[in-house]
Every structure is written in structure tokens, then in C-alpha cells.
């Protein structure tokens, strides 16, 4: 019996290591965190941001798997919603940036002016889409 347990432990351990390496490599490579650090001119605290990312990953996983209760729910829930929204918004745009969506479109359709309008449309469209998705319970 304990052989199987050890085997399972090895499976779980290796799975965790590989998954976390892959996921966090993606987060770093998409450049969300370096974006935040650059925009706020706080690149000197980059090690702190890494610590927070690491802690977030570790605790988030524990909360998800073991259904840990979250304290201060009235404050924590809206905060979690807002901040994860900001994070995912930047993530999506960071992904679009890496895939060169904008340069390709701007070159193809030959837009040189009013690119701000497109940025605003994308932002509003994403927000409206998310709202519709949740409101309809899809």
C-alpha cells in the first residue's frame, strides 16, 4: 500500500514542478509583471514582485485544491475580482502584443492615426463582453 502512496507522491510532486515552471515561465514571458514595474517606475522592487508572484501561486493553489476558507470575504472578494480582472486584462493585451497583433493590423489596413480609438474600443469591448458573459450565466 505505501509503495503506491510513494508512487502517487512522485507523480504529484513532478506534476507540480513541471506545471508551475511552465505556467510561471508564461507569466514572466508575457511580460505582465515587468509591464507593471515599468509603468509604476518601481523596477527596483522587482525581487519583491517575484516573491509576491511566488506566494500568490503557492497560496492560490492551496485555496483551490483544499478549498481553504478565505477570511474577510466582504473585502477580499471584490478586491480579488478587481485585481484579477486587471491582471487578466493586461495578460490578454500582453499576449496580443507578443503575437504582433497590432503591428500586423496597422500595416495591413494602413492605419497610422487614431490608434488610441482602437485601444479604447478593445478595452470597452472586453469589459462589455465579460459583463454580458456573466450576466447571461454562460
Amino acid at each position: 500500500m505505501w509503495v503506491k502512496q510513494i508512487l502517487l507522491a512522485i507523480v504529484g510532486l513532478s506534476g507540480g514542478v513541471v506545471v508551475s515552471a511552465g505556467l510561471f515561465a508564461l507569466i514572466v514571458e508575457i511580460g505582465v509583471i515587468s509591464d507593471f514595474a515599468d509603468r509604476t517606475h518601481t523596477a527596483d522592487h522587482i525581487l519583491l514582485y517575484e516573491d509576491c508572484t511566488a506566494l500568490g501561486g503557492i497560496l492560490g493553489n492551496l485555496i483551490f485544491l483544499f478549498k481553504w476558507p478565505i477570511p474577510f470575504q466582504t473585502v477580499a472578494l471584490p478586491l480579488f475580482g478587481l485585481l484579477s480582472g486587471v491582471f487578466v486584462g493586461c495578460w490578454a493585451m500582453g499576449l496580443a502584443e507578443i503575437l504582433n497583433v497590432f503591428p500586423i493590423f496597422i500595416r495591413r489596413i494602413k492605419i497610422v492615426r487614431y490608434t488610441t480609438a482602437f485601444v479604447i474600443s478593445i478595452a470597452v469591448g472586453r469589459g462589455a463582453g465579460a459583463l454580458l458573459y456573466f450576466a447571461q450565466g454562460w
Binding site: 515587468s34 519583491l48 485544491l65 485585481l83
Partner: protein
């Protein structure tokens, strides 16, 4: 001046921040010359004067710097060992206060913490990790998983180990001397921004190059 047949080596970084409105050559590039008397004189040469309002950014061609030296010391042979285009940013020394900086850092810290937690949860949810675990558990032991087995525990330990190994440090303690992935990414990002700034300036003809007397700076809000 006729005896000035020395070679002056200059080396500049791609991105320089100045706090003084009168930008001198010594603020921008480091210099080396076998004739030590020349260096302080050249360092004191004035390259450009920034108009006082707001923050400004200039892209200066190294040719302009060499021209500036040649104007005063025509006989010097100048060798550039550094960048060919230099971004000069003037920052007003009006510090917005340490409290504001700490506040920004705190907000970003919480933001990336929640973001990372959210990412791992969405990943686990996406690929249905709990379901896979109960299937593996059932396959290995033949009994039904209660959702809290050795698999979940060891997976959590694995996540922790993987993240810490990936980021290569926790707190002040570094595991190896290599820079961390975020440090590398940060430099890559800054490099891309600097390249974009220089190329935009030269495409728009805003670069402060030889033959220009008035630098058209790029004002930032």
C-alpha cells in the same frame, strides 16, 4: 592646440538620466585619453540646454557629441566605444515622496499576488486537476479518492518547489548567482523601449544630430 594629436575614447550608455538643465558631455559619456589634462576640459563641454518646464526626452546621435568635441579641439581623434544613439531624459528633481513610491509598490505587490493566485486557479480549473487526480488515484490504488490524498499534497509541494526554483530566490536569499527571470525580462523590456524611442526619433527626424543646432525634445506629460 596643434599638439593635440591624442586619441580620446568615449563610451556612453544608451539611456541616461540627467537632473541638470545644462547637459555636459561628462554627464553622458565616460572618457579615456592618454593626455589626462584634456579629460576634465572635454567633460565640461556643454552639449545642450534643456528648457526648464516639465520632463523632456532627447535622442542624441554620438556624431553630435563628437562634433561638439571637435568644435573646441579639432585635432583630437575621438573613438566611440559605446552606443551610437543616446537617450537623454531630464527628470525634475521633484520627488513625489517616498510614501507614494511605497504605495505604488504595495499596489503592484498585491496585484501580482492575486494575479498569480488567479492564474494557478484558472489553470487547475481549466485542465481539471482535481478530476485527473481522482482518476490517477483510483487507477493506482483501486479505491475512490476523497479529494485530499497524497497526490494533492505532493502536487502542492511540487508547485512550491517549481516556483521557487524558477524564480531562483526567495526574499533576499538567492539560490544561484544568475539574475532571476524577471530581472532578465525587465532588461529585455527596457531594451525594446529604448530601441523604439531611438528609431521613432530618427524616423521623425527629431534626433539631435550633426547639422542641427536646436534639439527638438520630446516632452512627456
Amino acid at each position: 592646440m596643434a599638439a593635440n594629436k591624442e586619441t580620446l575614447y568615449i563610451k556612453g550608455d544608451r539611456n541616461v538620466e540627467v537632473t541638470n538643465l545644462d547637459v555636459k558631455l561628462g554627464d553622458i559619456v565616460s572618457m579615456e585619453c592618454s593626455n589626462k589634462d584634456i579629460i576634465p576640459k572635454v567633460k565640461a563641454l556643454k552639449l545642450l540646454k534643456i528648457s526648464p518646464q516639465g520632463e523632456h526626452r532627447y535622442v542624441v546621435s554620438v556624431l553630435k557629441i563628437i562634433a561638439c568635441i571637435h568644435e573646441q579641439y579639432p585635432g583630437i581623434d575621438v573613438q566611440n566605444m559605446g552606443e551610437t544613439d543616446i537617450i537623454i531624459t531630464y527628470e525634475e528633481q521633484k520627488t513625489k515622496g517616498k510614501a507614494f513610491h511605497i504605495l505604488k509598490t504595495a499596489v503592484v505587490s498585491v496585484l501580482v499576488f492575486v494575479g498569480a493566485a488567479f492564474s494557478i486557479m484558472t489553470f487547475n480549473n481549466d485542465v481539471d486537476v482535481p478530476d485527473v487526480f481522482s482518476q490517477v488515484y483510483r487507477f493506482a490504488t483501486g479505491t475512490k479518492s476523497d479529494g485530499f490524498t497524497v497526490l494533492e499534497v505532493s502536487y502542492s509541494i511540487g508547485i512550491t518547489l517549481g516556483i521557487l526554483t524558477f524564480f531562483n530566490h526567495f526574499g533576499k536569499k538567492r539560490f544561484t548567482v544568475d539574475p532571476t527571470p524577471l530581472e532578465v525580462q525587465m532588461r529585455t523590456y527596457e531594451n525594446e523601449i529604448q530601441t523604439a524611442l531611438i528609431e521613432t526619433a530618427s524616423r521623425k527626424g527629431e534626433e539631435f544630430d550633426v547639422g542641427k543646432t536646436d534639439p527638438s525634445g520630446n516632452r512627456r506629460s
